[in-house]
């Protein structure tokens, strides 16, 4: 896909850092994060919004960054997996994914953790059913999801601070 030729300035806050970039307005947020900002923790799995590997938070809302033109992130707060740990301290979700076996090959993990983060923000004490539904936009081919659900449930017990 050819981006329009005119570039423009886009300002956004990524993981609490204010950035201004000269970029094509229709460039995918995913490519800007990975290519321009070097935040390669956000992954591309399908490029069509099905797998959720590229999920990030845009003003607190979970989005697939492969479907978001960077123009749409003008003035927005973006959180990627790199922004979840605070001062080197893992977020409870990261810790629980690690302990419960929620990450196997790891390629879906950043998006999955952000989806879980968005879920726990809305619903701090989700039932199993809530978790199953809440993560249904993020595909994992390794785990069969069980240990991911457990990681999310455990993180909700430990308190979703963050």
């Amino acid at each position: 896909m050819n981006a329009p030729r005119a570039q423009c300035d886009i300002s956004l806050t990524v993981n609490d850092e204010f950035r201004t970039l000269r970029t094509f307005p229709m460039e995918r947020l995913l490519d800007v994060l990975r290519g321009r900002l070097g935040l390669t923790g956000t992954k591309e799995g399908c490029g069509e919004g099905e797998c959720g590997s590229c999920a990030v938070l845009l003003d607190g809302v979970l989005v697939n960054s492969c479907l978001v033109p960077v123009l749409q992130a003008q003035g927005a707060q973006v959180v990627t997996i790199e922004g979840l740990a605070e001062r080197g301290r893992l977020h409870p979700l990261q810790q629980c994914f690690l302990e419960c076996g929620g990450a196997q090959c790891g390629i879906c993990t950043p998006g999955m953790i952000l989806a879980a983060y968005a879920l726990l923000k809305k619903n701090p004490q989700p039932s199993l059913h809530d978790i199953q539904e809440g993560l249904a936009g993020n595909l994992c081919r390794c785990t069969g999801y069980a240990q991911i659900w457990e990681a999310v449930a455990e993180a909700s017990v430990r308190g979703n601070r963050g």
Binding site: M1, N2, R34, L39, T40, G41, T42, K43, E44, G45, C46, G47, E48, E50, C51, S53, T80, I81, L90, Q94, Q95, C96, F97, L98, E99, C100, G101, G102, A103, Q104, C105, G106, I107, C108, T109, P110, I113, H129, I131, Q132, E133, G134, L135, A136, G137, N138, L139, C140, R141, C142, T143, G144, Y145, A146, Q147, W149, E150, A151, A153, E154
Partner: protein, 767 residues
């Protein structure tokens, strides 16, 4: 809500380094994965990198008449590679070497690579690839097992046949007359896409030699393929595995192809070249699970004893031989299931069609032939009017009996006991009864089904002897220990478990043992990471090499028999300081009593088997004809469980893929080309589609592998499909014999007017 299992971390407080094996330790690379720091191939870039693209065949079979570079593209900016640029042999070196790396004159399947392009701007590639026009003279092509068998058109060799096997035992001709029943059935499975979430990708750079980084399972397969293709000696080819985002067999042989492409572009351009497929290219062009057809004809007594049977197992290998002969071998050996066959004749055959070559996918032929076996057991039970439980119980292999290849079972397996425990965990009998009465008054029907199966660990027959794997354990200058293997981590836990084995063997804390990133310049060839062999075969070698390391330190007078962590570290550091290095090697030595006859296909097919009983509970909704799996019990005997969290993750993940194979995942073909090469319309199970899979292990005190561990990775994909389809049959009172079982298949199967033939074959699909 079913089965929350207490997370295993709660036991972590009890970890001490005397008992590292069996503990749920954190994954070695886990921290990098949960923080997004893990570097996959597409996260890596070298200065001056060009991006590579592949021009592929649009037709299934024909000769290339003309190649035209259409106007509108700045072609002088592109590096172009054709078959004529190949310095070595134009093949993807594997077993038969029949597959070209770039088609030259002839194409034999859609999406076959013909020409390569590279450019500094990756966004320019798709349009450039589209602007290479190729004109063909089409030849007739074959798209199914049956078309290939008819041999009206020959597309490979003299008879379209890559390989055949014959397994024979007893005197089959005598059994038919003695049988009370002769039960026949035909079963089919379709292609399945591995659907690792990270697509195939590599980076190659050329500077006197090739260095190749990639998402791959088998660094030494790629090493061999690049030597052959680029005409380079072993020391001029270096292959490094990067963090790999899932593989499941799909990165066993195909990386040799894409690595070859990147290497050719790098050699021609003198610059690093990155090729990372997008999802559609990955699904269209790379290998999938072999479609299969299995026919059973079984002689049974009225008491339900199998007297003997004929099994014919045929797989569609696609256009080139690749790994089909080996997939066929495993499928043929597993075709008789975990049962005793006094007489049997099993014929296996892999045929050619004009689809992209089918290849390795977890299970490797066994899920196909075991689906047939386990559906057939239910068919026999139905014919005899006995229960699916009884037919299995009466025919289970017992210690002292032999498998279809004549391998005597010496392990203390107790399949009866395993079955009993699985049924009780699933509450099988009570549910079966309850569903029968509930179904009469309900518009949705519930059913429960089971599957019993086995999976051989390691390479088949003499395979491990030929591989002659080598493993190293290194003592480092800081006193730590490093495991040196070419075994790759792609989610299963290779790094973690091999470090656990070395740490426990040396009496060191887990943190003191690291593992080298697989790099052919730094690690020995410990064989491919396939065939559920890593823990059992490579793990055992790690144990030997670790013992050797300790012996060296003891022999040098630096270490006593009993030692503390600090004493070991000091001894190790001193040894390295004095002598410059400390490495201990172990080479595979075949266990005694293992005999295999490649010509007759008889003997010890595998050093060990894992065994399992799976029970699935389903609801079939009769308004939309969808199937929901409500509960799933997976009970297995895999020897000693070395890491409970990883082991359970292998089972739940394998079961999920198996449920996908059964109910969701359909490759729609047209003239050998996949029509639904997108995640939008190739459907795999989501988080909302699966129940919490209940996983149980039975440990019987095994002697194989490191600390008694056998293979685990592939076993869990063998059983779910037959268990689920048997459950659907239980719910509806109608059997289904083809995968995948989609709603339209169920509709056709139970709606008399919609059934076109006597033998309903609802999911046969477009082919």
């Amino acid at each position: 809500m079913t089965g929350w299992i207490a997370p295993a971390w709660s036991k972590m407080n009890h970890v001490n380094h005397k008992h590292i094996v069996g503990m749920p330790l954190p994954r070695k690379e886990g921290l990098d994965k949960v923080t997004g720091r893990a570097q996959y191939i597409d996260d890596m870039s070298l200065p001056g990198t060009l991006y590579g693209g592949t021009v592929r065949s649009r037709i299934p079979r024909g000769s290339i008449r003309k190649i035209t570079f259409l106007p509108g593209i700045p072609w002088d900016e592109f590096v172009v590679v054709t078959a004529k640029d190949i310095p070595g042999k134009n093949c993807v070196a594997l077993i038969v070497d029949d597959q070209p790396c770039l088609a030259d004159r002839m194409v034999n399947h859609p999406e076959e690579p013909i020409l390569l392009l590279a450019h500094p701007d990756r966004h320019l590639l798709p349009q450039a690839v589209e602007s290479v026009k190729i004109e063909y003279d089409p030849f007739p092509a074959l798209f199914s097992i049956e078309e290939s068998e008819r041999q009206q058109v020959i597309i490979w060799g003299s008879d379209n046949t890559f390989k055949t096997y014959l397994i024979e035992q007893g005197n089959l001709d005598e059994v038919w007359a003695k049988a009370d029943y002769i039960v026949e059935g035909e079963y089919r499975t379709e292609a399945q896409e591995q659907l690792y979430i990270e697509n195939n990708g590599v980076i190659a750079s050329f500077d006197r030699g090739i260095t190749l980084w990639g998402s791959l399972q088998c660094p030494y397969y790629v090493h061999k393929a690049l030597m052959t293709l680029c005409n380079l000696p072993a020391d001029k080819v270096r292959v490094v595995q990067t963090e790999t985002g899932g593989a499941f067999g799909g990165k066993e042989e195909y990386p040799s192809m894409i690595a070859g492409h990147a290497a050719l572009l790098a050699m021609k351009s003198g610059r690093p070249v990155k090729i990372v497929y997008d999802r559609m290219e990955d699904m269209l062009a790379t290998s999938k699970r072999h479609p299969s057809r299995t026919r059973h004809r079984t002689a049974v007594t009225r008491e339900g004893k199998i007297l003997g049977g004929e099994i014919e197992f045929v797989i569609d290998g696609g256009a080139y031989a690749t790994l089909s002969s080996v997939v066929l071998s495993r499928g043929t050996i597993h075709a008789g299931g975990p049962y005793f066959w006094p007489s049997v004749r099993i014929r296996g055959k892999a045929v050619a069609t004009n689809a992209p070559p089918h290849g390795a996918f977890r299970g490797f032929g066994a899920p196909q032939s075991l689906f047939a076996m386990e559906r057939h057991m239910d068919r026999i039970a139905a014919r005899l009017g006995i229960s699916p439980v009884e037919i299995r119980r009466r025919n289970f292999l017992k210690p002292g009996q032999s498998t279809t290849t004549g391998q005597t079972i010496t392990e203390p397996i107790a399949l009866d006991k395993l079955l009993q425990r699985a049924l009780s965990l699933a509450d099988y009998e009570a549910k079966k009864e309850r569903f029968r009465s509930q179904n009469m008054s309900s518009s949705s029907k519930k059913g429960i089904g089971l599957a019993a199966f086995l999976h051989g660990a390691g390479f088949t027959g003499s395979g491990e002897r030929y591989l002659a794997s080598v493993v190293g354990v290194e003592g480092c200058a800081d006193g730590g220990v490093r495991v040196l293997v070419s075994s790759t981590e792609f989610g299963q836990g290779t790094k973690t478990v091999l470090c656990q084995i070395a740490a426990e063997t040396l009496g060191l804390p887990y943190e003191d043992v690291e593992i080298a990133q697989p790099d052919t310049e730094a690690v020995p060839n410990s064989g491919p990471t396939v065939a559920s062999r890593t823990v059992m075969v490579v793990g055992k070698l790690v144990q030997s090499a670790a013992l050797g390391l300790r012996q060296t330190l003891i022999g040098a007078g630096l270490l006593g028999e009993g030692h503390s962590r600090e004493e070991f570290r000091t001894a190790c550091a001193n040894y390295v300081a004095e002598r410059g290095g400390l490495k201990s090697w172990a080479r595979y030595d075949p266990p005694s009593g293992i005999f295999w006859d490649d010509a007759k296909y008889r003997g010890e097919a595998y050093a060990a088997y894992s065994w399992a009983i799976y029970v699935a509970e389903v609801t079939v909704d009769l308004t939309a004809y969808g199937v929901t799996v409500d509960d799933f019990v997976a009970l297995q005997e895999v020897g000693r469980v070395l890491h409970p969290v990883l082991a359970r993750g292998q089972i739940t993940g394998g079961v999920a893929q198996g449920i996908g194979f059964a109910l969701y995942e359909k490759v729609v073909w047209q003239d050998g080309r996949m029509q639904n090469a997108q995640m939008t319309n190739y459907i795999m199970p989501t988080s909302a589609d699966l129940p919490p899979i209940r996983v149980y292990f039975e440990e019987l005190g095994n002697v194989h592998g490191a600390f008694g561990a056998k293979g685990i990775g592939e076993l869990p994909i063998d059983g779910p499909a037959p268990a689920v389809v048997n459950a659907v049959a239980d719910a509806l009172g109608t059997g289904f014999d083809s995968l995948p079982l989609l709603p339209e298949g169920i509709f056709r199967g139970i709606t008399p007017a919609a059934t076109t033939g006597v033998d309903s074959n609802p999911a046969q699909g477009v082919r």
